[in-house]
Symmetry: D2
């Protein structure tokens, strides 16, 4: 929380030889010259008459005004017509203004330009669905192994249909999840609810037991595959995996009800089965599951070795409503994860929308994006 300050070396050539800062008069009250220098909160030195000076009252988002008695940082609204305002964009001293970004050694900021939005994961960052859709199509075309790791939140209404669509259309090389994702998918197929809620989110009478009835029905059939073969399970995500021969791993946890006959209760064995997909993965999409995402992230290399031996980063997309889960994934070492902070069902809807856009058309056209 406290670090010493290392002042700039003003004898360094680029500072010693820098020109004086330039000033232009404000064109009107409360209006700055177009090219005003915009301040940050870091130590900022301005060269006036050959001397580097620190303006008074520093703050970010201000302008630097030359008063008769010295330099001062102020907000644009207080500038009066004709007052001299510092001009320029460069922060390296080359235009007479130097922002000392590395003065506080050991600080978290360290160095580099003053920026907004420097956090790695934030709901305030735009999501480039067109790019994700393009990567997904590329992987399918080159026969990559796209591993989906999903939590039960993907099951809500359309989310379930969209995952099924991705399976049916060849975008899923393997599906990893837990007992719950299969249970609630099957609950939906057999009884029309998820976690006892209908598709509008209303609890159904007796609904708290519906997942137990679904499990019992599969226990009687013997396995998910047998339930499909016996005509018990006729639609949904697990059905699509069976029908389209997409391998799935349902890894057990202590939260599991049942569990289903297909669920691997032994976590070491479940890790081994997941690891087989980790070593083959060429792209990974992890949606709404902290446990399975971090477990799978632990097993993943950060890169893919191509057939010719070249390396490329392993595209790893992590979707969650909370920054925390994605940050935690990174904090456990999966630094390459690209975080999307949103609702699982909406992510799936929008991703499918972009995947279905004609490849050669400008994908944003219908939305008027330039």
């Amino acid at each position: 929380m406290q670090h010493g300050y290392n002042p700039p070396d003003f004898d360094e050539a680029r500072l010693r030889d820098a020109p004086d800062a330039r000033f232009e008069p404000a064109p009107a009250d409360g209006v700055l010259p177009d090219d005003f220098f915009a301040t940050s909160n870091l130590p900022t030195y301005v060269k006036v008459d050959g001397q580097w000076r620190l303006p008074r009252a520093p703050r970010m988002d201000g302008a630097i005004v030359k008063d008769p008695d010295g330099l001062r940082v102020t907000e644009g609204r207080y500038v009066r017509k004709g007052q001299p305002v510092a001009i320029g964009y460069a922060e390296d001293g080359s235009e007479g203004i130097f922002v000392h970004t590395t003065g506080f050694l050991g600080s978290a900021k360290g160095g580099g330009e003053f920026q907004f939005m420097s956090s790695e994961v934030s709901r305030e960052k735009p999501v480039d669905y067109a790019r994700m859709a393009e990567l997904l199509r590329q992987e399918r075309e080159r026969g990559g192994h796209i591993v989906w790791v999903v939590g039960p939140a993907v099951l809500h209404s359309r989310g379930r249909d969209v995952v099924t669509w991705f399976i049916e259309n060849g975008y899923v090389g393997a599906l990893l999840g837990g007992n719950a994702v299969a249970v609630h998918d099957i609950e939906q197929a057999l009884l029309g609810t998820t976690l006892g809620m209908d598709r509008t989110g209303r609890p159904v009478s007796g609904g708290h037991a519906f997942h137990m009835r679904a499990i019992n029905r599969i226990a009687r059939a013997g396995s998910i595959r047998k339930a499909v073969e016996q005509g018990v399970l006729t639609e949904g995500i697990m059905h699509a995996c069976v029908v389209h021969d997409v391998p799935f791993v349902l890894a057990g946890s202590i939260r599991d009800d049942g569990p289903l006959p297909d669920t691997i209760a032994d976590t070491v064995r479940a890790q081994e089965l997941m690891r087989e997909h980790a070593t083959r993965a060429t792209m990974t999409i992890m949606i709404a599951t902290a446990l399975h995402s971090i477990a799978f992230g632990n097993m993943l290399p950060a890169y893919v070795v191509e057939v010719d031996g070249a390396l490329r980063p392993l595209t790893t997309i992590a979707v969650d409503t909370s920054e925390f889960v994605v940050s935690k994934l990174k904090d456990r070492g999966t630094h390459q994860a690209f975080g999307v902070i949103t609702n699982a069902q909406d992510f799936l809807h929008v991703l499918r929308y972009f995947v279905e856009q004609p490849v050669n058309a400008a994908p944003h056209a219908s939305h008027g994006v330039r």
Copy 2:
């Protein structure tokens, strides 16, 4: 945290006259009879030989087995073929099993059926976009006053385009927000960035000052409307409001940079302008802003008085990435708010998608939803 227990009155007619519970043998090891009674964690009494008994080892998601020495709750996986398992769905005693939901007076649960997903706001609930789209279309048709309250998160890439589309297509009666939403919309229009990030989320060099340059440009023009008239501002949300005569209120806050000439720095005056829309509102959509949502929620009645004097609830949709913001809105008294926990740009994309669906077609059809 501690409440006394009020046992059931077994002399009450419905309990006194209830039949004994029925039991059926388990069809196989680890498989329950189809109609097994599924337990909750609440006190559950089972009538055997005319006596109400509490099974041992209570827990939820279990079944009730009759052992030689009494009743026991267990999980399906431990049931052996032929063991007698309690049968039934009714929890009111009418089939010999009584769940005492009101035994702990003063408890948060209080009474009512044992349920999952009883929280009001959760990312784990499905979102019924088709219904929201229908309500929105109805309001437009009957000339309602649809008030949108938006935070800067709507500006990210496509979000901004979709809000503009809603304005252009008559779905926005008034737009309420703060200085930031207008600043970053205009930053995007004039300089191509939001908060100094480009459309893919990468910081742009010098970007931390772009919003200040946008503000300065509007300050020079005199107002947003004048900037449109002077050809300075040619696209985006604020431009659409001006061109389509959609009133907007930019309420000031202490976080504001600038502020823009249009921003109402006096918060009491800003409340008055917002209140004019609150008294006229027939539907409200609040997206990604705690401050403005709660402020506007405070001003809103929970209902609309129709032309004929009849009352109906005021549809109030609150969208945020965090349950906390929506719960807080409710905790401040806006109980009618329907919460959608998702990313603003995805919400807008999916809502537009459903609004554009043909009205008479099954709206889900193209997504394969039954």
Copy 3:
């Protein structure tokens, strides 16, 4: 999102026979009479000249003013000296003002008084540590089985010491957790770091592997108990469990590194071991672990059967930094959970502080609480 309105029955005796509302003049500009009726956003009827009327411009936090042309809701700041303002506290019509809380059937609110802070779990609610400390002391005195379910967040600096203190002082009947909590406790004991961070949160060089080295050391010893016996493990939470014969269950998960020899990799077996403590539990404290809290919550009855056969609720305290985890626990059926939204290490520090207060002294006295 839309429900019909069921108007009040004004022929009902309590409404038909209710008196007219009373009005008093405002004592000064912007000042209301002391006993002003404070509005909510629900339909509110005011009896004037024997007629029930709806005031114009309804909103919460307002007062009702009688204008020459009717009733109007307004904010206190707009009231002028002498204007007649409605008076009273009763909302049931008995003082001439009736708030119709049940008008919108099927609405989430349903009925009951208009309230703030109706959500069950919120960081905005006070936490009654004195009461929790009292319950904890009572359980210890009567020889209850207090089950602690903990995640690795309890390990941070003082948190670890406080858990150890609770073990040493007889407040822990069993400790349930995962591989990680033991691994990082042992990492701390052997190498001085947690997750590779030192006690101030700074990453240590090579620290990413420290937990692996800790696991390897225990693997060599054969088990945690053997490591204690061999003098390898000399302090910390797991050490205290061994020395004080507090049983622990380390339930396996697919995220586990190692795992430790003591970790139960088979999740069905781990459930069985946890369930033994669930059936005996008389109080439960769950800290900073969604997986283990929800798993254990699933196994817990909502009540304890006392020796004399009487039932009382099972005190269940759930601590997490996020409302989501606690709400999810409740949404999975553990309705009795009392949520504390805070940081694990601070919870532990404050709980110990209150447990250590002299029992008969006013526990808040030293903090000046009345």
Copy 4:
């Protein structure tokens, strides 16, 4: 999401001249040699017979085993007694193993050592209260200007008492907040509730209006100071500010009820008053308010100019239950903020506890921390 790979330059001296990696036999099945090299997920080259090789099946938290047919990453549990395992700690090639941290240019990770917990703000980081307490005591001793920026969450039960204690004991140079913090402090003083809840968090009948009654009472008195002078307001935070001449700024917002006569409704004027404290601040503590923290952060320099002209960083502590608020503060440019993720009332309790510890004693001693 995709970046090219820049392989290491194996002709560089440090790699060309590096020794072969060393291997030692595993001492037992599932046990690694003490000094095993622990893998990360980054490209890792191992020198064998003078050749740099990439082991197969890379992942983090593994060991490198030499098989007859090459190198392989595996988990410790699969190693068999006697298998040769790579040894060493250095990741720079000097011991024959090279982790190529900068291979993926443009990646978020960029370079630097593979680490866990690299995120800047996380509930999973320990909080060094002893250090914060020491800084606070130092500032008081040297007459610094400690600015507290607080949201209403500080008011819950003991939180309010502790803030009052800090004011009374000279640790508060100025108190900045909004209308709500003063309203609910005064509601507590006059009516015993906060947001209509009593000290245990239970809603009180009629409680939704208590804050309006508190406001009305101050409106009648004329101001907070007058209410103190008239004996209306006799305890609490605002009372302590008046009595101890601690300046406060209550900045207005559109969410304000009332507002109180002391609240500055004009946000530009409120900014000016806050800014006076920003320019004088030598330490800042921001608790549980996004709006006021970010507003004040915008005004703050990142440093303090000492009397002798030397610069030091401005200690800025930001406390919130959510990582998001602290990350947002940083994303708006206040990079120097040190985040504490916890509950406001617990933060205050623990901070006071450490401030009260004897300065020269080991502050942790009573908690058994080494």
